[in-house]
Symmetry: C2
Subunit: 591 residues, 2 copies
Amino acid sequence: MGTAWKRTHYCGMISTNEEGQEVTLMGWVQRRRDHGGLIFVDLRDREGIVQVVFNPQHSQEAFAVAGEVRGEYVLAVRGVVSRRPPGTENPRIKTGQVEVLATEAEILNPSLNPPFPIDDVEVDEAVRLRYRYLDLRRTRMYRNLVLRHRLAKATRDFLDRKGFIEVETPFLIKTTPEGARDFLVPSRLHPGKFYVLPQSPQLFKQILMVAGFDRYFQIVRCFRDEDLRADRQPEFTQIDMEMSFVDQEDVLQLVEELMAYLMERVMGVSVKTPFPRLTYAQAMARYGSDKPDLRFGMEIADITEAFQHPQARVISEAMAAGGVVRAIHARQAAHLTRREVEELASVVQSAGGKGLIPLYITSDGARSPLGRAITAEEVERIRERLGAQDGDLILIVADEPEKASELLGQVRLELARRLGMIPRDTYAFAWVVEFPMFEWSEEEKKLVAKHHPFTSPMDEDLPYLESDPLRVRAKAYDLILNGVELGGGSIRIHRAELQARVFKALGISEEQAQRKFGFLLEAFQYGAPPHGGIALGFDRLVMLLCGEETIRDVIAFPKTQSGMDLMIGAPSEVEERQLREVHIRVDQRAG
Amino acid sequence: MGTAWKRTHYCGMISTNEEGQEVTLMGWVQRRRDHGGLIFVDLRDREGIVQVVFNPQHSQEAFAVAGEVRGEYVLAVRGVVSRRPPGTENPRIKTGQVEVLATEAEILNPSLNPPFPIDDVEVDEAVRLRYRYLDLRRTRMYRNLVLRHRLAKATRDFLDRKGFIEVETPFLIKTTPEGARDFLVPSRLHPGKFYVLPQSPQLFKQILMVAGFDRYFQIVRCFRDEDLRADRQPEFTQIDMEMSFVDQEDVLQLVEELMAYLMERVMGVSVKTPFPRLTYAQAMARYGSDKPDLRFGMEIADITEAFQHPQARVISEAMAAGGVVRAIHARQAAHLTRREVEELASVVQSAGGKGLIPLYITSDGARSPLGRAITAEEVERIRERLGAQDGDLILIVADEPEKASELLGQVRLELARRLGMIPRDTYAFAWVVEFPMFEWSEEEKKLVAKHHPFTSPMDEDLPYLESDPLRVRAKAYDLILNGVELGGGSIRIHRAELQARVFKALGISEEQAQRKFGFLLEAFQYGAPPHGGIALGFDRLVMLLCGEETIRDVIAFPKTQSGMDLMIGAPSEVEERQLREVHIRVDQRAG
């Protein structure tokens, strides 16, 4: 680039304000059109596109340059901003009122013909990831990553103002034999020993509370070597926070304020606080999920009482086994075809349910595959309980209580999608609180911590810690947005005697506890303050706010489901020397 | 913690403004003193210390609690802020005018007796790192990490305002068989393949320029598995930046503005821009270093011309071999003892120099170990050349030009320290520019890139790329602060034909280039803009601004020289299962 060239404006920022001014632009050729004696070039940079007109009467040289350019060439242009002739304005782009009449031009770099056009057409994801540098030129991807930047920036602005200190915690840490699978990093200086990459900075943030930092946060990369089912990445980013001398309500309020700030500041959307708070039991009963989507209603209702002497066998058997009858009430959905209802039923079946009973409410009573096995009195009681009207559809499951709700929870989501009940650009935040402290692991045949073993039980449930541990609820909370778990946290145990009781309930011996968490337990003996915190999945938050379906579309250089980076070709083989230096060799035994 | 307790103030923020108010404080017991009927507790939190007075006449219960506490207990206190009785004020602390008369108190957590006191006494570093949570309670460490947070925050504020977008680049990437040693991460899903941790996001930031991001930055962790000589850490943080459509001057100005902003905003210090710019050749000649410390003068001067027919053998031999005579001129330093001068001479010898000739300027001429071998005429010419006065000391080295300056560069630093010439709290920024593009590697017997092979040569030196490559200077620049290299960068090559010429000069075949940098070279074919950037060592910047001697004191959880985390005990052994899962085994062959 000659020193004579110095950009004065972004292409996408040229407007009638610059009319008559000379500007210098640099960007990529989006499109070139030859119109007889004139050449039109749409020149693109990150801020947008502007039309440049090359007229041989203005400059022969520039016109000649324009004749050579092809799509994605990098071009520097000098010219004068002019209003477009009446009738040629383009209202679809920001700069559509103006054009730049070129007086000088230089090709800064040519380009091969790109494998796909740089606009928002559908392209196979493998190709997009292989040529990520071209994919990222597309408006949507650029906009997503700018939104990501703005959200991170606003998070830091907010937390800084609230007295939080961002502290960088280490990436080369120590394995703890619980939780998900670690990524290993062999040590060269210590043969046979390994670092691991952190699954979260959990232990370090608690250590920082012991160190008196009082309010810590970090936007930080974390690593989990999990099978990449669903929408997971081996490396992901979280907003990690911890506060001292707080109770649950303090954490919830702070996070609500943060979310409201981000929504207002970055999205220009105002959200109401406090967010709805559902206990785990309520969420499970009413939405069949611990991450309820509150963008629409259609809650699960219990209609067991409608059945006093049920004749339908599927209902009577479930009730006899201590089960319940629960239902989703879809207003004015009786138009759903039999095929559509069967598809909903297959959701239930593939989730291990026995079946789904549709009940169409009509002016002459009700219609269902069970026919008269559901009596008119039962229908009447159901109508009354649910407030159902003619034309409504009721979907019924009879099963044990948790199962019934879980199955209907899935039906509820699928049905809402089909009925178009889920509003766009709506942001329904919610808290789920009072999670069970423990759950029974069929695999390990013992109690395991639902959150982690440092989570504090609720004060009122402490008496049941030994006698009825499954009854104990924890000071744990999850933040939900639009049915997606954004993250979770808890108030931690800070006193040794309570920690010992919880370890005992989990069947963790003192020796095991020392081996697994020794340094944290030791730290806690030197004056640990009461503390609690939360970790929020930043990729998911950005995804939801971008309106994307996968976190890969809000990560600059994501990996595929099989953990590959298609652009750089990672992972790859390394040299034998590199392995020898870190004292390992490849071992192809089945893993 | 009972729900009745809710902190109202930080201990360190209580002042006469709160006089008469009831406050609730939570913190750590710094000190407890029993004074007959009263107990005084210095209560500490991150903001400072306040004195709490327990008087049994105010509250028997609180007094009893105070009787139980020991150092580092966590305590909640409610009480009324009161002015201290006249004569008992403590001007050394912020809260020294007031005390809190306790009405209620609760021990939130007891503490073992800490292994070292929580104040700024000297403690063995291994012990500090082992109990980092206690070490971080000390004012100095907390202050360092807060400054680190503020610098990161201000960097983001500034760059965001300048239109830079922070983009997160991946941590699990691909090895490139150049540069320092990589940390390896074995892949579970791809047996026998490995990710590596990034030594820097260099390739990704250049890819982002190809993608049209225009202005990128990131404050990002990087990894180098190097021997930890000097003050290095296996993981370190850098401020990484890249800009499109810029020349060197644009990058330098932007970074100067950033530094001036950080100094003003975080340190309250105003620094002048532009920073002094020295070519590599100037820096080497005048300071004997490519990272000159400009906090003081005492530049190296060439005094070869003073010796026309030298009699001193050490000088005549050096000159006969094409060498030079150079000197440091220390004003009024003739008081240095022979022993001190010998110590300076040993600096020269241990750096491979032949010797250091001191010349004491006195009212009767000059004195030196060479006696009359340095003639009166030579002394006179030296005095004239340097403007030396009676009482000055001149330190002379005769050697080949680069060597002479390098040796004197070290003498200059050591001498300045001894003479107390280095002012405290002074921040001398400088740029070193026009680095050589290549250097000769004795080891590899070929030219290697001094910066990296994507660095652009200077336009005016392009004609020498093939004929005289060692003469070619690069568009590369280093930022220096107080004699420490804060970081460096360059304008990159963006055109394929120039890249090919540079590869050729480096003896890199096209096949090798493809294998090593294939994806970047491919990306560059699709319209790479002119671009350049810089990476600044954030740990070092924070260290210098904190006035610390080691980066370990500005990193929350650093590793030792042998790469160990003494608190958590990393690296450590892992389970056989974990190795099997990632298809490796330990191999104790000598690495």
